[in-house]
Amino acid sequence: MFKLALKNILFYKSRSITTFILTFISTLLFIVYVAMMDGSHESMLKNALKVYTGAIEVYKKEYRDIGGNEYLINDVKSIEEKLSHIEGIKTYTSRYETYGLLSSKEISSAAMVTGINPDKEAQMSQLKHTLIKGEYLKHDSGNCLYVGADLVKKLGVDIGGEITFVGSASDNSFAADIFKLCGVFKTGSFEFDAMAAFVTRTYFDTLMYSENKASYISIALNNLDEVDSINAHIASKMDTDIESLTWKTLMKPMVEAMEVDSVFGYISMSLFYVVIFFVIMIFGFINVSSRVREFGTLRCIGLSQGKIRTLLFYEMFILSTAAILLAMPLGGAIAYYFSLNPIVIEGMSEMYKDYGIISDEMPFAFNLLTISWNVATIYVLNFLSIIYPVSYINSFKPIEATHHV
């Protein structure tokens, strides 16, 4: 039966080629398109995370809801000690955030001033890269302030200029100091650029009495896919008053937006597949309907309906498999290549800054599992498409079939 199928395929060259091409193109397209979609989501996420939010963040419970000095983490060292033993964590850093008043000679503005570890931060977030003027912070920068561009504009200060800070320390007492503007950054996110300022912790801690304290600890991972398992691991090692959250909770709107985008992507893809499905079905139908006599003859010489079904099944199987065997590696290679060398669209980051896209690259995601289920879908579609032709053929009575025009 298999040999017969093979012979048939080779006989009806043009039809076979067309079916082959259709399957080939659709498989290729599917793999590449999904790789692109997943890749862009992944990069959106990575970029958004890189800007400031960590893949995982560790808080004292209630800090996120109520906030305030009462819910600060009080033993950063012991938590960081535990984190250093957990696999999969690339790096971590603690941040001490406080709201206060920043004033220049003319203007005062409420701002969020954060004590950071500049070296660790540079490894984890985009803060250093978004520098547009002056210098980024160093571990020993002292009273240097690294401020968002819009805030700097509002205060009307220049590099080297003085900015007064008034706020409350970690014990709610007065904290006040004079800072120097050392660097300006621009992330493109207005909220951030108009409200945020950073100081090195070594200096800020003395002012705020916040040594070994933190608002939260931000963690970067080696592999974003492991986020849930690592998070569970972290949670198990922490005390009961500490909670550990992943970006999925921290950035819920973004997660949902990505899901919506995926949904739309799949809807569009499904349109494409409906069309392909029909085309393959038509071809199968044509194929079959012009061979009615042939099948009639086969039936007359004793082939059962079941065997006819098997024959046609084999024909489809051979064609699909051949096409897929060609398309899968090709698609995979394309996905792999572009995952390592992303497509660069100049100016894309300017356009999509607000959506958290800060690079001009559009990488693809290479994932064998995804590719496999893509391929499986195509297989299924192909087989579904010959059901109608097969039942059509089998509906003929053998003699009737041989008289078919």
Binding site: E70, S108, S109, V166, D171, S173, F174, D177
Partner: protein
């Protein structure tokens, strides 16, 4: 007969209302006088530990007030000036005067349960509320204060327990619009200063934060003593800091 009865009822209501207003006015007067000087010890307790601050305060009417921090030593010399609705702060450590923007004024004062707004808008109790007597237990009158139609106050109502011996409040409960308690003020240790009575122990507590509260102890209170106009100028901030 009916007419007389209604008439009597009306008079009774009016006099009651008048009495309530009277009580409130006297209460307010006790708080304010024409000018007041006092030393305040503020104890802010939250999550187990207590922070203590001592200040000296000069105020004239409702629009002018000058405060100087004298304890802890770290914060000594910090001064605040509030004139009309504007507020400035001077910090000796960095030798700078800054203007506190309106937005920050409406927020909690130094981590306590009192807002700047409370401090600045105290006068509103007479103008913004319509008082009504709820019950009388000897000399202790419980008043219900309902905000007037257009009054710009966030409370749904305030219930005050007032000692009419001294015209000072023993307890004030603040309710939101739905009638739920939001915070209460407790007043104790009433003392007499010239012709004014003032509770010298205050305690403010938010209902939903059981473990944090703010206490204020008032000492060295002096009413209607002439306060130099120098205190209510911007120059005062730096001048009286030392």
């Amino acid at each position: 007969m009916k007419k007389v009865f209604i008439f009597l009822l009306l008079i009774h209501q009016i006099s009651f209302a008048n009495e309530a207003e009277d009580i409130i006015k006297k209460l307010d007067n006790n708080m304010r006088g024409v000018s007041v000087y006092m030393q305040i010890e503020m104890r802010i307790t939250s999550l187990g530990h207590t922070r203590v601050m001592k200040m000296q305060s000069w105020s004239e009417g409702t629009k002018k007030s000058f405060v100087k921090v004298i304890y802890p030593p770290r914060d000594k010399g910090i001064t605040f000036l509030s004139l009309d609705s504007q507020m400035w702060q001077y910090i000796p450590k960095i030798e700078r005067t800054i203007k506190i923007p309106p937005s920050m004024m409406l927020q909690n004062w130094m981590g306590s349960d009192i807002t700047n707004d409370d401090v600045v808008k105290q006068s509103s109790i007479v103008e913004d509320y319509a008082p009504r007597i709820l019950k009388k237990e000897g000399k202790i009158v419980t008043l219900e204060l309902i905000p007037k139609e257009d009054a710009a106050v966030v409370w749904g109502k305030i219930i005050s327990r007032i000692d009419t011996n001294t015209y000072t409040s023993q307890k004030d409960i603040f309710f939101d619009e739905d009638g739920k308690e939001v915070r209460h003020f407790i007043y104790k240790k009433v003392k007499k200063f010239s012709k004014y009575y003032l509770p010298t122990y205050w305690r403010v507590q938010a209902i939903d934060k059981k473990t944090s509260f703010t206490e204020m102890l008032l000492e060295d209170v002096e009413y209607d003593k002439a306060i130099s106009a120098q205190y209510f100028k911007k120059s005062a901030l730096k001048r009286f800091s030392r």
